[in-house]
Amino acid sequence: MVDAVKMEKVIFEHSVSGRRATVQAPAVAADFSDLPSALLREDKPLLPETSELQVVRHYTRLSQKNFSIDTQFYPLGSCTMKYNPRACNTLAMLPNFLARHPLAPASHSQGFLACMHDLQEILQEVTGMKGVSLTPMAGAQGEFAGVAMIMAYHRQRGDMERNEIIVPDAAHGTNPATAVMCGCVVKEIPTGPDGDVDVEALKAVVGPNTAGIMLTNPSTVGVFERKIEEISKIVHEAGGLLYYDGANLNAILGKVRPGDMGFDVIHMNLHKTFSTPHGGGGPGSGAVGVSERLVPFMPMPHVLKEGDRYRYVTEADVPDSIGRLSGWAGNAGVNLRAYIYARLLGRDGMHRVAEFAALNANYLQARLSAAGFDLAYPDRRASHEFIVTLKRQAKDIGLTATDIAKRLLDKCFHAPTIYFPLLLTSCLLIETTENEAKEDLDAFVEAMIEILREAEADIEMIKGAPYTQPVRRLDDVKAARELDVVWPN
């Protein structure tokens, strides 16, 4: 039975020359006859020529082909797929907020600036840092800002040689990539069998060229770095600074503060811990917090409060700033959503985030372990996420992480993370946030058990999954080999 409900043409296939959504453009025909004709375009760009109804229908139907937090449990490790409160969206999209030009004078922007200032203060408090700038537009840009500040700090002290950034092998790919973008050399150190950093390896690599270390804590393998104080001491004594990759902040929010652990700079993924939506790929916000010594270097602009008035800093206020990272002030609308979320949570709510994220993760870990799944770090507490390894099942019945991931889709669960961290093969990185209810975790466990049974009975069936999605398993190799990235190919 062909499932017509699943099909959706490419928008250009709905296009008919001359058709258009007339109410959406000025009533007067276009006329550029006063401009030099050599500078004008001759061809008609390939934009759809469609009616408004066709566009609404097409994209509404496309949207239905996505899994999302609003429709499915989404235990995607490292991604912190929390509920995105609808109020954050509604309020951030109040007409006056949307209509504000980024260069509107401060005199007419006190409402918006007050929100940004309050958010800076809240983030400072929960991270234990001494300054916050909201301008980085995602985690990776926050990392960039952080490493750039570390470099600026060393250089300002005349320390011209420090150009090595130490990165554990379990780190997210953005960490080493960022270090390189900042002109640094990456020194990789291994992770021990218990998930903690190999301190001896660290000791071996620190030295006069050490600019800093980038750490995630809890790390990307889902465990809290117990030797954090020792690491901090080693790096600081060597003259390096500590960078905290705050993508996993959800695991410790309200419990431990990176500032108290000795970090000099942190980026936060507000699109994770502060629940701004991920939007199918972004936008995010990678706000950075810094310790005292890095305050002068923070990226511009941030908001100052003078008396009861707010304004953005100018170059004159912060001569040592690493400068601007975006055209204006970062993803303001995302920061607004984070602010609203923070106010809804409040002090008490902040304390509960990590508590319940960890409760859920440890509960799920215990149940899956009891159900016969192997844990990557069976002797450790889960942080807000944990790793199931499928080495045994892969060997015994050929069941891979990808198979489980695809089959979970048929059971209406988004798959856990399977491609990361790179150092573990055939594993599932499972993160369940504080927002999910016990019965949904239980249902997930049932689904996992069911898949295991199905695989034991008929591994070929599992290899064919998913069966209920708009498409079956896709040919990634063909996608890369026979590149078809624009229509018509």
Partner: protein
């Protein structure tokens, strides 16, 4: 407990399953002395109603001004359908489409977006977005340095008419890698780059020449000549474009004999609200040979096990999560939701609609200049055509005029003398299709009042 569904009974039973007695025990691997305190700096939680009221109050403090400012952020009409669809939960609350089968909506949309952008810019390939226009230029610069294997200098030439903030941001991002930008001076009278200025650099080793069209002043550069000159001198050409204007202007891919090599810019004019400067998105397109140097995600069309068409992320080997320190960029999360909005916007406007937006914006600038040029204390800085922005100089400091105009309900424009000291009291003004004759007349009256203390 905001957003936490657990009841006491459930918490107990979950703790039992874990085998601990209390919630705190889950954190027993964290050294005691690291536990954080009361978080007194965080205010008490509010109910949704209380937050709603607070945010309505804050929004009300920021009176919406009739916007005559551009400089990279533009006040266009956004059809209601755009964000009503964009903020549907399935788009809004999805992650990056790593699980392709469960993300065909987002993936197909990005494929459509790539197709539209490639066509608008006259390029072969588009990525799925970068952060914003300014940082997209930085990525384009890094890409040009990587791609131009013949050039060893790690230097680029940049027209002085390229948005000064974009140049600053680019510099912040690329200088760590010892890459630098040399500025090409422009002609003060026309506000455009003249060939003589380029000729001063003939034969020098630069990875690329960066050209913005329409340029920062809204003036039109001789892009064909500039492109051919750059290519003749072994440089790549990086075009910075406003995609709205590409409904009318020659696509960068068609500049000169061979076309620009990379086109980038700010996607905001295509259906993204001004929203205090973000989230917007940077677009980037290039010619086929440069494809594998492209930063950011790319979606490709392929087939599934049954041979039916489907979409997936592709060329991921360029990206940080695979290539790590050798990736084309560190970008991971991009600006997907804004791209969603833009794709719907472009579909609603179509080629004719977008051209009408461009044309109305342009005609309104002609009308505005006509309306204000004879006001005492106003001079139009540049001869030659403007697209929908223009530079005027005033008899009073621009900051003062902006403040006083704001009190009359107008965002008068953007002060630019800091970046271009050669123009005194300079104001960059902009019009879009959202302005009508009455708006323009009202602006002129207000400006006259502010400059000359009287009604026109």
């Amino acid at each position: 407990m905001p957003f936490i569904p657990h009841t006491e009974t459930e918490i107990r039973s979950m703790l039992d399953t874990i085998g601990v007695n209390e919630l705190e025990a889950i954190f027993d691997e964290i050294p005691d002395d690291l536990r954080c305190g009361q978080l007194e700096g965080v205010p008490e939680g509010l109910t949704e109603y209380e937050v709603t009221r607070l945010l309505h109050q804050r929004a009300a403090e920021d009176q919406a001004l009739s916007c005559f400012a551009g400089a990279g952020a533009y006040d266009h009409h956004i059809p209601a359908a755009v964000w009503e669809i964009t903020t549907r939960g399935e788009f809004y609350s999805a992650y990056t489409p790593y699980q392709a089968e469960a993300s065909q909506g987002t993936l197909q949309l990005i494929y459509e977006y790539q197709s539209m952008m490639a066509s608008l810019t006259g390029m072969d390939i588009s990525n799925a977005s970068l952060y914003d226009g300014a940082s997209a230029l930085a990525e384009a610069v890094l890409m040009a340095v990587r791609a131009n294997r013949k050039s060893k200098s790690r230097k680029l030439l940049v027209a002085g008419t390229v948005n000064p903030t974009y140049r600053k941001v680019t510099n912040v991002i690329v200088h760590n890698q010892n890459i630098s930008l040399d500025e090409v001076p422009f002609d003060n009278a026309s506000g455009t780059t003249v060939t003589a200025a380029l000729e001063a650099h003939a034969g020098e080793d630069y990875a690329a020449l960066v050209i913005q069209q329409p340029n920062f002043f809204g003036s039109l550069e001789a892009v064909d000549e500039m492109t051919d000159w750059a290519h003749a001198n072994g440089m790549l050409v990086v075009a910075v474009a406003n995609p709205m204007t590409l409904a009318a202007l020659k696509a960068p891919g068609q500049w000169g004999e061979k076309g620009a090599d990379i086109a980038c810019g700010e996607g905001q004019p295509l259906g993204v609200p001004m929203s205090s400067g973000g989230p917007y998105y940077g677009f980037m397109c290039c010619k086929q040979p440069l494809a594998r140097q492209m930063p950011g995600r790319i979606v490709g069309r392929t087939v599934d096990l049954d041979g039916n068409p489907g979409f997936a992320l592709t060329l991921q080997a360029r990206e940080q999560h695979i290539r790590r320190s050798k990736a084309t960029s560190n970008i991971c999360t991009n600006q997907g939701l804004c791209v969603t909005a833009s794709t719907i916007y472009m579909s609603l406007l179509g080629p004719e609609g977008l051209a009408r937006v461009a044309s109305a914006s342009h005609k309104n600038m002609n009308a505005l200049l006509a309306a204000i040029k004879d006001i005492d204390g106003v001079s139009v800085a540049h001869a030659g055509p403007s697209f929908h922005e223009a530079l005027i100089t005033l008899s009073k400091p621009a900051a003062v005029v902006i403040e006083q105009m704001a009190n009359l309900g107008f965002l008068a424009g953007v002060s630019v003398s800091e970046d271009y000291p050669q123009y005194e009291n300079a104001l960059l003004v902009c019009t879009t299709e959202t302005k009508n004759d009455a708006d323009i007349a009202a602006y002129a009256t207000a400006l006259n009042t502010v400059l000359n203390g009287e009604a026109a």
